[in-house]
Symmetry: C2
Subunit: 324 residues, 2 copies
């Protein structure tokens, strides 16, 4: 079993590669729920949705979120009713929010609802929310504290960030299966997701960071920072707000207590050289995923590094390594 | 003020005419909520929706329900998730269900939610649910008791009907404004809706039938039965199940304790002759509404009869009457 800690954007791209090169049944995903929001009265879990959609082949690759080919007629009608429309919920996407909200209203946990929905969409991988308790990523800015989606989607991450906190995290418990998946996986992969607001909330759930320290498999992170800047989104701003440099060194620092390997882009080979002196083992490869082949190649590199190709369907070529 | 008791199908057609010939501000609608259902976890009020849509110009006249030009992508996606799809909720239509459900979840009454939604859609008429309490029309059939929408939409009203009851009615109260609207209106109109399952639930709310007896304006019903058969839907089956003949006499009987005038189709002029001997005053006119002009003409006939054209924008021609 490979265990992947992930957010929804870079993480979904990485998972899109992973599902090409290994059996989905052998993947357990522990997904950030810090971005979850009540939208039009429905419970929306953006990262779980993206991961579910990518694994079911439904994700819109153009947009990187939502259902491919989706329409937005309900959104338009909500706008005519004077309701907020900044969070773009497609008509097909709504079906998942409606079903999840109904299951939760019936007393199911988020884990159970996630499991029902992913089974109905034919997903064979195991998708686990980090917690069944509500943990909310809150971004403190000069205009006040915002939810992550307000900061990220509604306000286009234009606000300066003072700090980030995970409201509710100290009282949260990992969802059933999370700790076990980390402890027993052949490898634990931190997807190229934002270390602060995608992986950060997962590690903030009491018990998860401790499990990472005790994991029997190797732990590898794929850097979402390439050439000193995030591949996409506000990772740089948020890392700096949390006292981490926006660099592969910052990524290594975020995970320093448990990280075995860091995979960085070939563009960062000089920085990698520096990092090797006192940090984890670092491997350079192409990490920017533009095509299906890019995604598959990165997934193979990761698998080859941490499990010697145990799960990978083909050998990896072209990666440079500092491993013996 | 004209007060209209109505369901959603024939009633919406009648209201479509009424809004053409009088100021919407002067219309108060008391709407059946016995068909309301929880659908995909949302609170749907089919008759309030139809009345709201017809008054805002949004009703699909082809279908007679839902929003004109609506799409059904969410419905399709719900089907793919294995959820029921027999109640056809359009993507634009969903917006109203989402907003109403959220308002109710926030503690608003159905009256308040209805008022918010109709205001947002620019409706000037006053739409009142018959009650803010849950009253459920239950249809007893050989396969068991069904909700009205199960009987009507899911099973295409193919089941024999033993009886109809209005669960919760005895504990319900009329919504705020309902009794006052009936008592003080210049006329009370019973729309050409099913007497059993559209008007019946309204009259089953304690206090409403009593108010009809004390109304200061005249009370007029438009028969939904033409030529011994319903214009549409299961009115005939349901009337017979409740011991009423499927005829204009059955309609008169349903309302006999308070009815001043009955408007029937010219095709029923012979039956009207019989009815006049011992029932309410009966007027024959064209009641089947195919075009906008048909609707307007019927509305004018009704207004002319009960208020001497007080609200009607043009005089009515061509109606035969037994009035002096």
């Amino acid at each position: 079993m490979i265990c992947v800690l992930t957010g929804g954007t870079g993480g979904a791209k990485f998972v899109d590669g992973l599902r090409q090169v290994m059996a989905a049944e052998d993947i357990t995903l522990i997904v950030n729920t810090g971005d979850d929001l009540l939208w039009w009265g429905l419970y929306v879990s953006p990262d779980i949705d993206s991961i579910t959609y990518v694994l079911s082949g439904m994700l819109s690759r153009e947009r990187g979120w939502g259902v491919k080919g989706d329409t937005f007629f309900c959104l338009q009608a909500m706008g005519q009713l004077g309701e907020p429309t900044w969070f773009h919920t497609g008509d097909r996407d709504l079906a998942v929010h409606l079903l999840r909200s109904r299951l939760l209203a019936e007393g199911k946990t988020l884990s159970e609802a996630t499991s029902v929905i992913s089974a109905k969409l034919g997903v064979k991988a195991h998708i686990l929310p980090m917690s069944d308790s509500r943990v909310e990523t809150r971004v403190d800015t000069p205009i006040g504290e915002l939810s992550f989606e307000q900061y990220f989607v509604q306000r286009w991450y234009q606000d300066p960030v003072n700090s980030v906190r995970f409201a509710g995290a100290s009282d949260a418990e990992p969802a059933s299966g999370v700790i076990d998946a980390i402890l027993t996986a052949d490898a634990v992969v931190l997807a190229p997701s934002n270390p602060v607001t995608s992986i950060g909330p997962i590690l903030a759930v009491p018990g998860i960071r401790e499990a990472m320290l005790k994991a029997q498999g190797k732990i590898v992170a794929v850097s979402p920072i390439v050439g000193g800047a995030p591949v996409a989104g506000p990772a740089g701003i948020l890392m700096e707000a949390q006292g981490l440099p926006c660099s592969i060194a910052g990524v290594a620092q975020a995970y320093e207590d448990f990280l075995d390997f860091l995979i960085v882009d070939t563009r960062d080979s000089e920085a990698a050289e520096q990092l090797r002196k006192n940090g984890p083992r670092v491997q350079c490869t192409q990490t920017v995923m533009r095509t299906a082949d890019d995604k598959a190649a990165l997934a193979r590199t990761v698998l080859s590094l941490v499990c010697g190709g145990l799960y990978s369907s083909e050998p990896t070529a072209g990666a440079t390594s500092d491993l013996p």
